[in-house]
């Protein structure tokens, strides 16, 4: 009996170590062990690339690459002189680096559940706007437009972090939604 307890104990330690090591040493975004351990709390792997956050997070939140397919990122990155009405031009070497990064971490390359939902909703298309994907519209279909477009502290659905308080950590679940002027989201 004692040896069985010891065996079970050792197995438990080994399992914990395995997951711990996998989490610590593995790919820092789409890690299945981490995903399993934290269940649904991570919606999209937050961008872990400091260059991306610096170059693409000045005017808006640095969007997690898993929110769009690679083809979309390619389109966006090849049209930066007119980036939704703004000029977001980059040094060519930086542009190449960031395009490669975005494609490498795009929705179809992610194991996370929601990224796969994004892919199902876009199919073969390469939308330019995250907010126009069927998946996004479905997730936000209960939000009155006036809470966003008519709200000076939010303005657009593309300003995720105006309401999703944990967006920088890739968490978009309802528990962390506070809509300016309207309080916590409670459905």
């Amino acid at each position: 009996m004692k040896s069985m307890t010891t065996t079970l104990f050792v197995l438990l330690i080994l399992t914990a170590l395995t997951f711990g090591l996998r989490t610590a040493l593995g790919d820092d975004d789409d890690d299945d062990a981490r995903d399993w351990l934290r269940r649904e709390s991570i919606g999209f792997a937050p961008p872990a690339n400091p260059l991306y956050v610096e170059e693409c997070g000045d005017c808006h939140m640095a969007y997690p690459p898993g929110l769009l397919p690679g083809a979309s990122w390619k389109r966006i990155m090849s049209g930066l002189e007119d980036h939704f009405g703004d000029n977001a031009e980059l040094d060519p070497a930086v542009q190449r680096k960031l395009t490669a990064y975005l494609i490498a971490h795009s929705a179809e390359r992610s194991h996370l559940r929601r990224a796969r939902a994004v892919m199902r909703s876009v199919g073969d298309s390469a939308p330019l706007r995250i907010t126009e994907t069927r998946w996004f519209r479905h997730e936000h279909d209960e939000i009155p437009a006036r809470w966003v477009k008519g709200n000076d502290e939010v303005r657009r659905f593309s300003q995720c972090d105006a309401c999703h308080r944990d967006a920088a950590r890739g968490r978009f679940d309802e528990d962390n939604v506070v809509i300016p002027g309207h309080g916590r989201w409670d459905d």
């Binding site: 000045d58 005017c59 808006h60 002189e81 939704f84 009405g85 703004d86 000029n87 977001a88 031009e89 980059l90 040094d91 000076d152 502290e153 303005r155 657009r156 593309s158 300003q159 105006a162």
Partner: protein, 135 residues
């Protein structure tokens, strides 16, 4: 005692040229580049006029530097579309400004094109830098 004093003096003289208020290595580097392109001398006054007076109308809306940065360089600005806060331009309020040549050039490229519809000339950029560093 004498040796350490000499070393201290040497170190002091090396650092003295780099951190006086308003004048940074990045700005000096860029101004020299602009001079090499035939521009100069540079004027903060001209830079100020350029910053505040340049305007272009697109789809019935005016675009100026002050559209996002406001008329007060010490104040926080706001991105005209996204509403995202923009840190003050004045180095006296925001010591991170004007520290990196690449960053300065990046924003000149983007914002001159968006605001004016064309790149700023080396003369204009030099004048602007003289103006901004004085704030």
């Amino acid at each position: 005692m004498k040796t350490s004093f000499s070393i201290a003096l040497l170190l002091l003289s090396l650092t003295a040229g780099t951190t006086s208020a308003g004048s940074t290595t990045a700005v000096d580097k860029l101004l020299q580049q602009y001079r090499n392109a035939g521009a100069g001398p540079f004027s903060a006054e001209r830079g100020q006029r350029f910053w505040h007076d340049s305007v272009r109308t697109v789809d019935g809306r005016e675009r100026r530097c002050t559209t996002c940065h406001t008329t007060d360089l010490r104040a926080r600005g706001k991105h005209v579309r996204t509403g995202k806060a923009i840190a003050p331009m004045a180095p006296s309020m925001n010591p991170k400004r004007l520290q990196k040549a690449k960053k300065i050039e990046k924003w000149f490229r983007r914002n001159c094109k968006w605001t004016l519809g064309r790149p700023c000339t080396p003369q204009e950029k030099g004048d602007l830098l003289r103006y901004l560093e004085s704030q």
